[in-house]
């Protein structure tokens, strides 16, 4: 019943109409401009270099690629206690048969395996490049997609903090608009600070899709149009600021995409939208952009019914996308070491419902992939039999410990100032 039609259909031009790329082709050559308006202090190449190195302890070559799964991915059918009778009983007809899960080894005394669609991730696990953090969650779980995602992205279980945990890092690390780049139209909360936010990229590897076309005079006037002046109303100023950032970021992204090729497909499976997004990110990393954090996403994980097919398709795309991406960054290659961190707003209810699906749940696993990852299980598997009073998992690993690890071992900053309290890093990075 679900349509196999996505935003990618538009971007790939399957509509058969003039897409943005075609339009740009008619507008003539593209000239990058970095300044907006007269006399404005704007980022320059020197300033960008300074900003990127401003965290003096930032791990050289390490880049975070944050992969958000919207809708609540079923963690229990992603990292599966396939031999457990409790698991088979809770999941009944949507339990993954024990001979189909891809064995990863034991966490404690429980044998765990990846979902059968995660063949690429399993080979990366075997190569020691995947950490699986178990039982990640927060106290008093919210079962609302939106509230729980806000909590996960703000790193604040009270829901009072209106900024993202990486947004706060942006607020504190200069003003270069390429420090964090999120693929897609909107800036997720995680990348929104109180003063600054990440820039966004089109989910397309065509250079012309990343920046405006038009002749040099037009673009010069556009940059003047996007000059932010003091005392102007807040929304007008914000509109001008993103337009100004577009000129700087778009030029760099277009030039990177022009100089690089997307990863060669390693997986034989379709990598979907998330594959295109990771292609863009791979090219930008290879081109040496100073970006320290990228964002990609996949959605439709809200499997209240007919979960088996839906989740298998989505995980298969994610698997192909990650495997292709990592193919470009073999261990130690050129000092580039991206780290993909995969998480969702919550896991799903341990007991399945009558529609062949699962309802909203709580704690789940976080999967970390990359050449500088120390492979293995981290944290403790939540009990399948001692559920909480809403029949959900009790979390065993505070989610802020995952972020603390990233802030310390990728950004090279003291996590405490961004998480409001000290949280012990988990040690899944070298």
């Amino acid at each position: 019943m679900a349509k196999p039609f996505t935003r990618r259909d538009f971007l790939s031009g399957s509509l058969g109409v003039g897409a943005a790329g075609a339009l740009h082709a008619t507008l003539g050559p593209v000239r990058p401009l970095a300044r907006c308006g007269p006399g404005k202090r704007t980022p320059t190449a020197t300033a960008a270099a300074t900003a990127a190195s401003s965290s003096r302890n930032a791990k050289v070559g390490r880049t975070l690629v944050l992969c958000t799964l919207y809708g609540g991915n079923d963690g229990l059918n992603t990292v599966i206690p396939y031999d457990s009778s409790a698991y088979q009983a809770l999941r009944r007809e949507i339990a993954i048969p024990h001979d189909q899960a891809l064995p990863l080894g034991k966490a404690g005394d429980v044998a765990l395996g990846f979902h059968p669609a995660l063949v690429g991730l399993t080979s990366l696990w075997d190569a020691g490049q995947i950490a699986v953090v178990l039982g990640v969650g927060y106290p008093n779980p919210s079962f609302s997609h939106f509230q729980s995602m806000e909590i996960m992205q703000s790193a604040d279980p009270t829901g009072e903090n209106a900024s993202g945990w990486l947004g706060r890092w942006l607020d504190a690390s200069g003003s270069d608009p390429t420090r964090a780049l999120s693929v897609g139209t909107n800036v997720p909360l995680v990348f929104s600070g109180t003063r600054q936010k990440a820039s966004t990229l089109a989910d397309s590897t065509t250079p012309g899709d990343q920046m405006p076309g038009g002749d040099p005079n037009f673009l010069r006037a556009y940059s003047e149009l996007e000059h932010v002046y003091s005392h102007e109303p807040a929304l007008e100023a914000d509109i001008a600021q993103v337009g100004c950032n577009l000129l700087a970021v778009g030029a760099k992204a277009a030039s990177a995409l022009h100089s690089q090729k997307p990863p060669a497909p390693v997986s034989q499976n379709d990598a979907g939208d998330v594959g295109t997004q990771l292609d863009v990110v791979a090219e930008l990393i290879k081109a040496g952009l100073p970006t320290k954090a990228y964002g990609v996403m996949s959605s439709s994980f809200d499997t209240h019914m007919d979960q088996l097919d839906t989740q298998a398709n989505l995980l298969s795309q994610l698997d192909a996308a990650v495997q292709n991406f990592m193919g470009d960054f073999p261990s130690g290659s050129g000092g580039l070491s991206p780290i993909i961190l995969i998480y969702s707003e919550f896991g799903r209810r341990p007991e399945s419902n009558a529609s062949g699906g699962t309802d909203h749940g709580s704690a789940s696993n976080v999967i970390v992939v990359g050449p500088s990852v120390k492979g293995g299980f981290y944290g403790e598997l939540p009990s399948l039999t001692k559920l909480d009073d809403t029949n959900n998992f009790r979390h065993t690993t505070d989610f802020r410990r995952v972020y603390a690890t990233v802030l310390a071992d990728i950004m090279g900053v003291d996590p405490k100032s961004f998480l409001n309290a000290p949280y012990a890093p988990l040690g899944f990075l070298d």
Partner: protein, 435 residues
């Protein structure tokens, strides 16, 4: 009000309570003043929409026919045609506030064709917003709950007595009527029981209550105990104080400026709305509220992409037929607001949500696409006089005033560039991007 502030308030009224007015329409409105103009827009909520109804509806295959074994049709083609029809309807409508309400109700009850899969069902829901939207919010919510597109979208149609599916019950409270924090997980479970047996009959394409799948037992919901059925749950939730605040805050946020349910303006309007749950009465109170034309309201909203596209086509006297098939659907998708395809049941956001570097780039693409079809005679006639051209484009787009910064950028474009470039530059100016 001074003359210029009246003009400004009228332009604001038409942009918010519709899709904007042309300079000629504003001139006509000036003769009757703000209050009467607002009442005329409000009257449109219950008047026939001659121009809108005259638009030919695309061929849409009914669900019952689509499910005949062996029958094949191009549902994607139907989806593109339906989206284009809706854009056109928003452009030509005689009752712009009602068409605006249809858009806002799509945002209130976000339902995606991507899962529903039948363009005809999306049309039926759209028409439901148009006919029942201006009336009782309780009746509307009940109709939406039994609407085939919603039954598929939130899996209500697959609910059985044992292990009921919580999807619809939860989103009913969280997104549609009350907001998070006003109910417990136990309320979610109990109301999910009440919706068991609600199903979609694929042979007729209509709602069907399957009493054999219904859990007829006693349920305790929001402190009230009874053998509640789905309609009882909807009656209870829509009459809560939390729901009156939620509905008022949502409509005020879309029409004036973003507020939380705890904002003073919500406290002001919610009790009146709670008396009858009548949406027309609520819209009347909003448009006549002093804060609706406050400075905060005048600078309070970024145009949503659909508002931007429809408003621009209206001002430029363009219809969807000027564009090749699917172009406008593509342009809206690139801006992140594809009609009938919200990302999830949370719908779209506001203001900062629409501001990003890639969105600015898509904005430019849209402006170039639209400007190539615009009649630029009035600007071309002033060639050689950049200042007069900048004034002409201000009038064309019904802009109150250009800031110095925008004026300079436009003047330079007029001086060195084409009339089309001037229009594009004006269409992406901060002043125009605000609603």
């Amino acid at each position: 009000m001074t003359t210029s502030s009246t003009t400004r308030a009228l332009a604001h009224l038409y942009r918010r309570a519709g899709f904007g007015a042309t300079p000629a329409e504003i001139e006509a409105a000036e003769k009757i003043g703000y209050e009467t103009s607002a009442d005329k827009l409000l009257a449109g909520l219950s008047e026939p929409d001659h121009a809108g109804s005259a638009l030919a509806l695309p061929q849409l295959t009914p669900l019952a026919q689509a499910n005949v074994p062996g029958f094949s049709y191009d549902d994607y083609q139907e989806f593109i045609a339906l989206s284009t029809w809706w854009i056109d309807r928003m452009i030509v409508t005689d009752t712009p506030l009602r068409e605006k309400l249809v858009l806002l109700l799509h945002e209130q009850f976000p339902t995606s064709y991507q899962k529903v899969g039948y363009a005809d069902l999306m049309y039926r829901q759209n028409e439901l917003f148009r006919t029942l939207g201006p009336g009782s919010f309780e009746e509307l919510t009940l109709a939406v709950a039994q609407d085939p597109a919603m039954l598929i979208w939130l899996d209500t149609g697959t609910d059985y007595k044992a292990h009921p599916n919580e999807n619809f019950a939860r989103e009913l409270m969280e997104r549609f009527t009350m907001g998070v924090g006003n109910y417990t997980e136990e309320d979610v479970r109990q109301s999910a029981r009440a919706f068991t047996g609600w199903t979609l009959d694929y042979t007729t394409g209509n709602f069907f209550f399957n009493v054999y799948d219904h859990d007829g037992g006693e349920k305790r919901f929001l402190g009230k105990t009874g053998r509640w059925q789905g309609q009882d749950i909807i009656n209870i939730v829509t009459h809560t104080t939390a729901s009156s605040k939620w509905v008022v805050a949502r409509l005020w946020s879309w029409l004036a400026y973003p507020v939380t349910t705890e904002d003073p303006v919500v406290a002001d309007l919610a009790p009146g709305y709670k008396k009858d749950l009548n949406v027309t009465n609520l819209l009347t109170a909003i448009l006549h509220h002093p804060d609706f034309v406050s400075t905060r309201a005048l600078h309070g909203l970024v145009k949503q992409p659909v508002e931007y596209l429809v408003g621009t086509l209206r001002l430029l006297g363009l219809r969807t037929a000027a564009f090749s098939e699917g172009t406008l659907v593509y342009l809206l998708a690139a801006l992140g607001q594809q009609l009938f395809v919200p990302l999830n049941v949370g719908g779209w956001g506001q203001n900062q949500y629409w501001l990003s570097t890639s969105a600015s780039n898509s904005q430019l693409s849209l402006a170039w696409n639209v400007a190539q079809y615009a009649d630029l005679t009035e600007i071309l006639d002033l060639n050689g006089n950049p200042g007069a051209q900048v004034d002409a484009v201000k009038k064309l787009l019904a802009i109150d005033a250009w800031s110095d910064r925008t004026y300079r950028a436009l003047w330079k474009t007029a001086d060195k560039g084409s009339a089309q470039e001037l229009l594009v530059m004006a269409l992406v100016s901060p002043e125009y991007l605000l609603n």
